[in-house]
Each structure stands twice: as C-alpha cells, then as structure tokens.
C-alpha cells in the first residue's frame, strides 16, 4: 500500500501540517464553553472514543499490516475492568489505567501463539477469540452474564468531564500514533508490513515488534472501552463485545485511509458522526452499506478518504502547473515504485 513511498516530503510539511490539527484541537477544547447542547456533547464524546479505537487499530493493522477482527475483545475487557474497578471504589482515572493494562495483557494471549508464525493465523485467531470471550462473558456470573453490568458512581454526573476525558484520550492516541510512526519502532513495523522476511534480515524481530504493537493498540482500545463504560454506566456482552464493535473498529481506519495518521482520525470522525443517522435511517442495511464500502475501497481506492484527497490534490496541483516539463507529473521515486508494484502484480 502507498504510504511507504511518501515519506520524502514528510519533514517539510510537518510544521505547516501541524497548524490545522492544533487549530481543530483548540476549537474542540473551547467549544463546550459556548454551550454545546447535551446531544452534541454526547455525539462528540462518542466520536472521540471511536477515533481512539480507530487510531489504535491502525497501529497494528495499518503500520504492521496485521488485520485483527477482534478488537471488541479489548474494548469490552477495558469496559468491564473499568466498571468493576469503579464499583470497587477506585478512582475512575486509575480504573482506566487498569482497563488498559488488562486489555494489553489479554493481547498477549492472542499474540503469543500466533505472531510467531507466518501466514493467516493471527487474523483467524482474532475471530475465534472474540467469539470465545463473548461466550465466556455471557456466561460469567460475576459480571451479571448476558444481562449486563451496571456502574454505580457517587457524585453528580457531569457530562463535560466525560467530554474532556475522551478528547484527551483521543489526543493521546494521536500523539502515540505520531510518535510511533516517526520512531525506529514504527519504521520496523512498516518494514514488517512490506516484507516480513526482509525486515527480519535487516535486524527487526517481527515477533516482538508485532507483539508490542498489538499490546499498545490493545491498551488504547481498552482505555477507550473504560471511558465509554463510565459514561454509559451500563454495559452488556452483546454491546461492548459484539461482533459489530469489532467491525466498526476495523472499518474506521480503512474508510479513512489505512496506515496513515489522519485517515483513522477522519474515519473515526465520519463513523462517529454518521453512524447514528445511518442506523436511524437505514436500520436494516447499515452494515450492508459498510460491507459494500469495504469492497469498493479495497478494489478501487485502498488509500481510503486520505488516498482520495491526496489524488485530488495531486490532480489540482498538476492542472495548475504547466505539465510540459514532467509529462507524468511523478517523481523518480514514484515511477520506480509504480514499476515495482506492476511487477509484483504480474507475479
């Protein structure tokens, strides 16, 4: 996929590129001061939670190229851990931390047996684990089984606290993604995605790298689950552990642009804001629409929204410039990369 080839201009745009997100963040911070209605606050809260999970999935799926169909496991485990801890009288923020740790530990259960092997084992195991965990949670008496679990928190419910918690968490997830992408660790992950054997030859240990990426992603997802559980105050296995939760977490970064930084944010935002309208208007077919979306994205624009925008900008740029000099409008790198891709496709 395309993101490996574009890093040349990355440092140059970094400063210019930092302006819009900082602006956006400031707007989101001050927005509640101007009397955002409870409905919008809730919608934005949910959107931040989704953006966090979307960024988290992208660390493993986008950077390291390991598709997981089971992130609801971490989301749900985080939710339940936070719920149990808060009910035990632990400070909510500490409870979120515990949620992250639990989810991270659980990620090892899937990662240890599967990451050692090459092949489709990991993706297969994630479907299995999400089924297994939901079955166990549906039957577990401590957490109320299928009938769900209620969180009782003393003190007044202040929606704005939840809003800022979720916003802060999404910010942290974004910073983590940015940091990983620029670090040696992130480059190692991308190397594994592009060619696992070559990466191993270059001194990257695929097993530990994949395991760490999985743990980081699981921790963020678990915390997001905890934050959501505290807000919702009632969770049940067929909500947080549901298959469609996994589907949602997987779809957002892909719709936005897999392997990029802003793709998952965009995907999460679109999903968070559109999801309710979509369910309200098309209760029967919203998952069908997502499936069609997924197929179309994979077949026509694997870069998602970000890829589309990028193409659009390139096209505008090309139209503006005189196309006499460089008839293709592509740099030497791009030409070489395209040639390589065409060759790979032929095999």
């Amino acid at each position: 996929m395309s993101s490996a080839a574009e890093s040349s201009g990355f440092a140059r745009v970094r400063f210019r590129g930092a302006a819009p997100p900082v602006l956006l963040l400031s707007i989101l911070i001050v927005l509640p001061l101007f009397g955002l209605g409870p409905n919008w606050t809730r919608l934005l809260f949910v959107t931040f939670v989704w953006i966090t999970t979307s960024l988290a999935w992208n660390v493993l799926g986008g950077f390291a190229g390991q598709v997981s169909f089971g992130f609801a496991v971490f989301y749900g485990l985080g939710a339940y851990t936070a719920a149990l801890s808060i009910n035990a009288g632990i400070n909510p923020y500490l409870a979120f931390l515990l949620a992250g740790i639990t989810a991270s530990t659980a990620s090892l259960l899937v990662g240890l047996p599967t990451f050692r092997l090459r092949g489709p084992y990991f993706a297969i195991a994630t479907i299995g684990v999400s089924e297994a965990v939901r079955v166990v949670m549906t039957n577990l008496a401590v957490t109320g089984g299928a009938s769900g679990y209620r969180i009782v928190e003393h003190g007044a419910f202040r929606q704005i606290d939840h809003y800022y918690t979720a916003l802060g968490l999404a910010g942290v997830a974004l910073l983590v993604s940015l940091y990983i992408r620029g670090s040696k660790f992130g480059l190692g992950l991308i190397a594994i995605r592009e060619d696992e054997e070559a990466a191993a030859d270059a001194g990257v240990n695929p097993f530990t790298y994949k395991l760490s990426a999985h743990a980081v992603a699981a921790a963020l997802t678990g915390i997001a689950g905890g934050v959501f559980a505290r807000y919702a105050a009632y969770i049940h296995p067929h909500g947080v552990f549901a298959f469609h939760t996994s589907v949602a977490i997987l779809l957002m970064p892909i719709i936005g642009g897999i392997g990029t930084i802003w793709g998952p944010v965009l995907g999460g935002a679109v999903y968070g804001l559109v999801q309710e309208e979509l369910i309200a208007n098309f209760p029967q077919i919203h998952l069908l629409l997502y499936g069609v979306f997924l197929i179309l994205i994979i077949l026509f624009e694997p870069g998602g929204i970000v890829g589309l925008l990028r193409k659009l900008f390139r096209w505008i740029e090309k139209a503006r410039r005189d196309p006499g000099d460089h008839p293709t409008g592509a740099s030497r790198d791009q030409v070489l990369w395209r040639a390589g891709r065409a060759q790979r496709r032929e095999l």
Partner: protein
C-alpha cells in the same frame, strides 16, 4: 454413564466429523490454490442453508435434492464472484491484507442481504426424517445425522476422485504445491483459480444445506461454523485434504465429549481453545507431524 452411552457419543462425534470435513474442505482448496482466507465462507454457508430451505418450503423438495442442486448453483455463484471481485486483488503467496478485507466485506454484504430477505428469526427444516432414530442393539443413531454424514462422505469421495483423476484436479494440486512451477509447466492459473473458487463455494453452499438439516439457522448462521472450519484447517495444516479429515474428527470428538465436563453454554469457546492449543503445540498441523514421522521412518 454406561459404556453404551459413551459409544453413542462416539458415533455422534464421528457422524458430525463428516459434516465438518465437508464444510472445511471448500476453504482448504481456496486457500491452497489462491492463498486467500475465504471469510465469506460463512456467508455462502448461510445462503446454502436458505437455498435448501426455500426449495423445501416452496416446492416441497427433499433437502437432500436441495443439497444436490446447491452444488452447481453455488459453483456458478463462486465463479461469478471470482470474476467480479476476487481476480482483481493482486496474487501473492501469503494471504494479503486486501484479500482478507475483501472477503470480510463480502461476508458482511451476504450476511446483511440475508437479514434483509429473511429477517433475523430462526428457521429450521423439519422432515419426517428429522425425528427418526435407528436402533441397533444399545446404539441409537438419529437417521438425519446418518443421512447427512453419508451425503458429506459422498461429496468428499467425489472431490477426492476429481482431484486425483482429472486434469483440473492435477492442476489444483500442482498449484497448491507451487504456483510458479505450476505456471511453468503450462497450467492456466487464472482459469484454475476461477474453477477452484467455484468449487470451494459449491462446497460451502452444500455444507450449509447439510447443516441446515441438523440445526436451526438465521442469517448469522455461518459464523460459529466459520471458526470451526478455521480450527479444522489449522489442525489439518491449511493445505492438506487428509489433514482436513483428521482435523474434523479431532474437533468433533473434543466438542462432543466436552459436554461431559463443561456446561453447554461454553461450547462455542471450545473451538477457539483448541485453535490456540493447536497453534502452540503443532503449528504445522497434523499433516506436518505425519510427514515428519514418515520422513523419519
């Protein structure tokens, strides 16, 4: 628990294994030739179940005839799906991100078309055979299970014959071993892949029809069986047909006898537990264990 009860359980497990093998073999051929993990298998199994159900409820067609009709119907569907979607994704000798996601998207589409058309209530196929039981001494065999087992075994035998005695089967086996070498000796890879995909989907649809005779089903029908199919082909070593038979037997035995120690509610988790055990203990599957033994001998 008497010896007769244990014997009954054993027979039930072995009869189940036949159906499990029929359901997994479609995934194995597709994986073997194209290195695509067909997540949409679950969706096609569900469609197969409803296909047989519709034929039965509208035209009073015997479910067995329905299953027989499902083979060509789903073969054509599979070929069409390959032509429409699958052939566009780049070929690889490893399962790729795009192939996984494409098949996953297809599964979502099929499942939700199922919900649109049939709603989410459970359906089942009831024939006079359903409640009939054969008594042989102390052994009781539910007739429908025996019939389903025989149908599954028959289809597997036909597949085995096709794979070993036809030109198409030879090219399938060659491509499973080495795609590039297969192309070098003149196999039309594109055509073989298309037919293989059709074959895999045909088995998915037929297995769905067979399972519909045993269990009630809803549009979410395939999911629980998808994981079982995964476990079976991982146990079998992903690309081996004899491995599929062994994997199916192991899973059926473990599932059936687990009733003795575990509450039935936990049963869906067993397949996953077995998957983890298989990955830790013998990642190459039973087949690799056997070949290692043979090489040693």
């Amino acid at each position: 628990m008497s010896a007769a009860d244990l014997l009954n359980l054993l027979i039930a497990a072995l009869l189940l294994a036949g159906t499990y093998a029929a359901m997994s073999v479609g995934m194995t051929v597709i994986y073997g030739v194209m290195k695509i993990v067909n997540l949409a298998h679950a969706g096609f199994m569900m469609l197969g179940a409803y296909f047989v159900y519709e034929l039965f409820s509208r035209f009073r067609l015997d479910p067995l005839v329905g299953v027989l009709l499902a083979f060509p119907t789903f073969f054509l569907i599979g070929v069409a799906v390959h032509w429409l979607l699958v052939r566009w994704i780049p070929a690889s000798d490893q399962p790729t991100l795009s192939s996984l996601l494409l098949m996953f998207g297809l599964w979502l589409v099929l499942q939700n078309i199922g919900y649109l058309v049939w709603g989410n209530s459970d359906r089942s196929i009831l024939t006079p055979r359903t409640l009939l039981t054969l008594h042989i001494g102390p052994i009781n065999v539910p007739a429908v299970r025996l019939v389903v087992f025989l149908a599954a075994a028959g289809s597997l035998a036909a597949l085995e014959f096709a794979l070993h005695k036809t030109w198409f089967g030879r090219s399938v086996r060659a491509l499973m071993q080495n795609r590039y070498a297969g192309r070098l000796v003149g196999i039309n890879v594109e055509r073989t892949a298309r037919l293989t995909f059709g074959l895999g989907i045909a088995f998915a649809g037929a297995a769905g029809g067979l399972l519909a005779m045993l269990y009630s089903f809803s549009p979410d029908f395939g999911r629980a069986f998808l994981i079982r199919a995964f476990v079976i082909i991982v146990l079998g070593g992903l690309e081996s047909f004899s491995g599929v038979a062994i994997g199916a037997t192991i899973l059926a035995l473990v599932e059936t006898f687990s009733i003795l120690v575990l509450p039935a509610g936990y049963q869906p988790a067993i397949a996953f537990a077995l998957l983890v055990v298989a990955l830790v203990v013998l990642p190459g599957g039973v087949a690799s264990l056997l070949t290692k033994r043979l090489r040693l001998a």
